[in-house]
């Protein structure tokens, strides 16, 4: 009796196969547009993980495999087995390159934790060698973050972290400022990012640029997120830089009589501390009170 329906079945299949095929293609395009496509799977990956893990990844357990590998790397860190840890970190970001925290924390392990540990490694008596190791791991951290940015160019956090690494670990303040600037360009970047630009410029000796930067912030909008900016600190930094650079009083931001290095300086009255007033404990993330504009 199947002879009666096989041609109807065939007709259905023939008519709908191309519809299905092209609809899938359409969805795949949408997937790519949203950046949703997983990082694929190639032989390179296969070489770095066990067979069971490879099957699990193909079977759709990618996230969980990565989680376990990350846990494994964490254990290696606790046991201080750096050379076991590094390939695992590499594989984790290979499997899920869009989870920023893997890059962030991995680089942090390399450039901060591991580099410190090898520098005080008592098993290695030669200081030069220890320093070389330390430098190596900082460089690895930097490389890691650069790769992170290559995979995730839309993340302010990674630019910031790279800048932070260059600032803290390599004292390359000029480059740090560059990356802080890149991070600050993103609208979702928090306010402290742009403050870091100023600090990096100051530390790097580019005081004029730093001053310009602070003044730009000072003269910028104070609405929305910016109301929580550290306006009093920025004022202090502007003042300090203007004094250091010996900017003519006519060009300074604030009235002349408020600068200690001016002859017209008027000392503001010291307000004695009120014994009955206690500063209420502020939760760490509460908004800061608005400073009155001078």
């Amino acid at each position: 009796m199947w002879s009666r329906y096989w041609w109807k079945a065939l007709l259905i299949i023939l008519v709908f196969s191309p519809v299905k095929f092209y609809w899938e293609g359409d969805i795949r395009q949408l997937t790519r547009a949203s950046g949703l496509f997983s990082a694929g799977f190639n032989m390179d990956m296969r070489g770095k993980i066990t067979q069971d893990a490879a099957v699990a990844v193909l079977g759709g357990f990618r996230g969980i495999v990565t989680d376990f590998m990350w846990l494994d790397a964490h254990n290696d860190w606790e046991k201080r087995q750096w050379f076991r840890m590094k390939p695992k970190l590499d594989t984790v970001v290979l499997l899920q390159p869009h989870f920023l925290d893997y890059w962030d924390i991995g680089a942090w392990h390399m450039a901060w934790n591991i580099s410190y540990d090898v520098s005080v490694n008592t098993a290695e008596p030669r200081e030069a060698f220890r320093l070389k190791e330390q430098r190596h791991w900082i460089d690895e951290g930097e490389k890691f973050l650069r790769e992170a940015i290559a995979n995730n160019p839309d993340s302010w956090l990674l630019y910031f972290k790279l800048g932070w690494l260059l600032d803290q670990k390599k004292q390359d303040f000029k480059q740090a400022a560059v990356y802080f600037r890149k991070a600050a360009e993103f609208p979702e970047a928090p306010t402290y990012v742009r403050r870091q630009i100023g600090h990096a410029l100051t530390k790097g000796g580019m005081k004029k640029e730093a001053l310009e930067h602070w003044k730009k912030i000072w003269n910028g909008p104070r609405t929305g997120e910016n109301q929580y900016e550290l306006w009093d600190r920025i004022e202090a930094w502007i003042r300090e830089l203007e004094m250091q650079l010996k900017v003519p009083f006519s060009e300074r931001t604030f009235p002349e009589n408020t600068y200690p290095d001016s002859s017209k300086y008027i000392q503001p009255p010291k307000t004695p501390p009120n014994p009955t007033h206690t500063t209420p404990a502020q939760p760490a993330f509460a908004p800061r009170p608005k400073t009155p504009k001078k």
Partner: protein, 302 residues
């Protein structure tokens, strides 16, 4: 007893009736539930509890990620399993128990019968998915509170303590209250519906439930590969090989767009266009496959 009881007894025509479909659907649901399928919740709860206690880690976001990965993975596989195994057993058990004769010898269309089975399983899976999501949501809620409390208590040393903490809290919120998680779960349900329809179709010609299950498991595991194959083969070959490819491709649903939980966890957003296109695809494919199944079933000798 001389007046006709059924209000259609003397009519000349019998139209397709959703009421009949629903009667069969509720009967199917009762039957499946009685097979202790709800014990799956016990398994799921264990997974939830295990995941929340096992993945305690140094970093809040990776901990939350691990928990979300595990729980969503559990929902994905448990619903797929129920969809395939539960559906595969429906027709063979009716035929074996001969209860099918008592139904199909009534004024019931075969399509109503099959549709009733599909609707019953789908509604059951909807309830199961929703319940699992609620449980998962509760765990996430509790974990979010715990992690934020830890974040506030201590913070990694650095220059901008309050900012860092603020950022950490914001990150935890973003992860735990990610609305795309709901979309991801909805797409998992779409996957279940495709699996139910396809399994019913396979079971109309399969000789036993085991046969259906094996075929469907094969299809399920080939499905992710079809996405890869799609790309590779569509780039090369003659029109004839393309046609042949499309033919084979017809039998393998592209489930990759419905199982993008990994990507959602990592923070990618699901656009509405993508969401609706995928839902539409799932509905379309389920209907076509169901139509095939109906065709085969109409001609089946019982």
């Amino acid at each position: 007893m001389s007046t006709p009881v059924a209000d259609i007894a003397d009519q000349e025509t019998l139209s397709f009736s959703l009421a009949r479909v629903w009667v069969i659907a509720t009967n199917t649901m009762t039957e499946v539930i009685r097979q202790k399928v709800l014990y799956v919740f016990v398994i799921f709860t264990l997974v939830l509890i295990g995941a929340s206690s096992f993945f305690t880690q140094f970093s809040f976001t990776t901990e939350l990620k691990s928990i979300i990965d595990t729980c969503l993975g559990a929902i994905k596989y448990l619903t797929a399993l129920i969809a395939i195994v539960g559906t595969a057993m429906l027709l063979p058990s009716e035929i074996e128990n001969r209860t099918i004769y008592t139904i199909l010898t009534k004024p019931v269309y075969r399509i109503e019968f099959l549709l009733g089975k599909v609707v019953g399983m789908s509604v059951l899976l909807l309830i199961v998915t929703a319940a699992m999501s609620l449980l998962f949501g509760a765990v996430l809620f509790v974990k979010e509170k715990t992690l934020i409390a830890s974040a506030l208590q201590g913070s990694v040393g650095g220059a901008h303590v309050s900012d860092q903490v603020q950022q950490a809290v914001a990150a935890i919120h973003a992860q735990a209250r990610n609305p795309d998680l709901l979309k991801a779960i909805a797409l998992l349900f779409a996957q279940s519906v495709i699996l139910v329809s396809m399994t019913i179709m396979v079971s109309t010609f399969a000789t036993s439930s085991l046969f259906s299950i094996i075929i469907m498991l094969l299809v399920y595991f080939c499905a992710p590969l079809s996405a890869v194959a799609h790309e590779v083969w569509s780039a090369q070959g003659s029109p004839l090989s393309h046609a042949g490819l499309m033919f084979i491709n017809f039998f393998i649903p592209d489930l990759s767009s419905m199982t993008l939980v990994d990507d959602v966890v990592v923070g990618k957003t699901v656009s509405m266009a993508f969401f609706w296109s995928t839902c539409g695809y799932a509905a379309f494919y389920s209907l076509v496959v169901f139509a095939l199944g109906t065709l085969i079933f109409q001609e089946k000798e019982l």
